[in-house]
Symmetry: C2
Subunit: 403 residues, 2 copies
């Protein structure tokens, strides 16, 4: 019999409670021992709920209990989660967390503290909810030089973009519908401005590069500027628009960015719709592989947390997770990153030559609808694109094209 504790009985913490209880027999068979939830920490009480019997309001009950081998952190936010997790590791307990903010901000230090105490800090649920991605990246794609990771890492924005594509809705209407259906928060900024995806790609980038990537260094653009007109051009091209979080080694540079992107039908992320997430990983040997599933939700995310609990119990006094080095990975200025752009400019077909002179010879996608012209540039650097746009006196919009 192995004892664990859960800190935070919200959506994911209660999901872990359910998974451990519902799949008790499966966990016992996998581990060879039974798992018991001995304590659950929360500020609130839950009268009538089975959790009440193991509820505590004092974190020290958990930290000072020598029988607790693994602590699950599902509180969210930075504090007191960070302090509690660090103390748990220092007390010789393994920690499994779903908290991407915590991992993106303090992962390097927590990995170090875990190493120093011969325990593990696991965060498989911090990216992609229930989709296996972090362990496969570390354990199954470890023979590859991983050159690119590009993901649809936020379900809320993918739901909104899917509605806009399928129903021709405006961003505002699609956001409202997502909020009404419980797929978007009343304060949606973390999702729609790309901040959530940014933290997740920072974690994946750190794993891909083996060095700490600071999420604050990653240029991040959300989907609030995406319009019906963008989708009109996308439909004409037969492409989809996704919020892509991407990290890529190219010509000696390391780039990372979060921004909407046009995805072509042959790409594995093309058809990933609604609240689903997917992550494409390109290795120099394995080529493209892709992982797909529910990127959020109580039970899906709890499934990944509970897999980490099993691994933590299996390697109780053996640090097995390299993670990444404390040394910071410098990211190249994205100005030199070369891409194709779909640009929207006021005017009609008569402007085609002018746009070709500014951006280089490209392809006219459509002209004359809504008094504007849609033009696909050749592959040019972000910097050259910005200069050309400025020289034209600005453009109405632009979306990058995923190679």
């Amino acid at each position: 019999m192995r004892q664990i504790a859960i800190m935070g009985f919200g959506t994911i913490g209660s999901g872990v409670f359910d998974v451990v209880n519902t799949n008790r027999e499966i966990l016992r068979k996998n581990l060879g021992e039974e798992i018991q939830i001995k304590h659950v920490l929360d500020l609130r009480d839950f009268p009538g709920h089975p959790v009440q019997a193991v509820l505590t309001h004092d974190v020290n009950v958990i930290l000072e209990d020598p029988e607790v081998d693994v602590v699950v952190e599902t509180m969210g936010g930075l504090e007191p989660a960070f302090t509690f997790v660090r103390r748990a590791l220092e007390a010789g307990k393994c920690v499994a967390t779903s908290n991407k903010e915590l991992v993106a901000q303090h992962g390097t230090e927590l990995l170090r503290v875990a190493r120093e105490n011969s325990v593990n800090f696991f965060f498989g649920a911090s990216v992609g909810g229930g989709i296996p991605i972090i362990r496969p990246l570390l354990r199954s794609l470890c023979a590859d030089d991983v050159e690119e990771i590009t993901g649809i890492l936020n379900g809320t924005t993918n739901y909104i973009l899917t509605k806009m594509a399928q129903e021709g809705s405006s961003f505002e209407d699609a956001l409202r519908e997502a909020q009404d259906n419980g797929f978007a928060e009343r304060k949606p900024e973390a999702d729609v401005e790309g901040f959530d995806a940014c933290r997740k790609i920072a974690i994946l980038s750190s794993l891909m590069l083996g060095r700490r990537v600071d999420f604050a260094d990653i240029p991040t653009e959300g989907i609030t500027g995406i319009t019906k007109e963008d989708f009109r051009y996308a439909a004409k091209l037969g492409w989809s628009i996704k919020l892509l979080a991407s990290s890529r080694k190219e010509n000696g540079h390391v780039y990372a960015m979060v921004a909407p992107g046009l995805v072509k039908p042959g790409h594995p992320l093309f058809a990933v719709c609604d609240v689903f997430n997917a992550i494409m990983v390109h290795g120099n040997m394995v080529d493209d592989v892709m992982f797909y599933g529910r990127g959020a939700g109580s039970h899906a995310t709890a499934s990944a947390v509970t897999a980490d609990i099993l691994c933590a119990l299996r390697f109780r006094h053996q640090n097995v997770y390299a993670g990444w080095d404390a040394e910071k990975q410098a990211l190249s200025d994205v100005g030199s990153w070369e891409k194709q752009f779909l640009v929207r400019a006021a005017g009609d077909a008569s402007r085609e030559e002018e746009l070709a002179r500014a951006f280089g010879q490209g392809i006219l996608v459509d002209a004359g609808v809504d008094g504007e012209i849609g033009y696909l540039t050749p592959v040019i650097s972000e910097e050259k694109f910005a200069e050309a746009s400025a020289a034209l006196g600005g453009v109405r919009g632009r979306i990058r094209v995923q190679a």
Copy 2:
């Protein structure tokens, strides 16, 4: 410095040679030590190739070398691969193999021998080539009750079906094109009759159920009976036709089958085309997750083998892979498995009522082209379908619909 040996310098063995040499620095960083290929076993010589310096024709050179920690088996076939692998495990060496025949036929025994010798028998490359699936199933989805695995597990047949769908080719023409392009063998039976997919789903089923599944128990149907007409109905419905290898727990039954299936647009396997493979796993907590990539090829498959080498070196004297029990899992007769069927029968629209009486009220897909009628049955058992077909005096064809 850790020493390994490779048995069999064919497509995959030479791929492992390349991966270990090309990604030497990455492997060293991951493992903390360098990996050296000390011996390569093959009947042939390779004059002028760097492998010649480490080539041996005698397996005992490998088995009796105490410096060799891991043996890679990429010979293919059952013998002498089985004898050599068992002897390597008995000699206290870990084994990593890409040989699905070996794993499907002798995996249970080799897992036991590995356990008894405190070493590991790894076979991550035996299903899905470079796609991480076996380790994620064992290590990331281990908190779930996995209720279904359905995969496109054979690249050759998927390439042929894609050509038939896109170009309206007959099976024979598409097969010839695949052979000319090197995507199908001159003797294509193992692929087109479904035998290859059958062994792979037997391995995945054994892992899903934790008990030995005998591939000979799995009803297997290939794609040789798929016609242009089938694709005409599929196009009308907006569905795709894939060779699906499937294993499912349902109503107390355990079913497994390999057969062509109609896949609807919302399903994660719908758009998996050309030589790509993909595996959908349904867990009771995580819901649907999907893994996608190149299911074959020298470097992709070698990537998975080399990941296993790293894991084997990390856990050199510690058996970490449960795999499955020796006890055999009985599979239910598929007669009770309930599905929807697309049935093709001679005649015109006037037969609709007759088909409805035989199969139950369904949907008329099309009638009167090529003197036949396409009818979508309700969900009925395989047994009832067979009885109804017989009562009608036989039908021209039928394809199951993936739920």
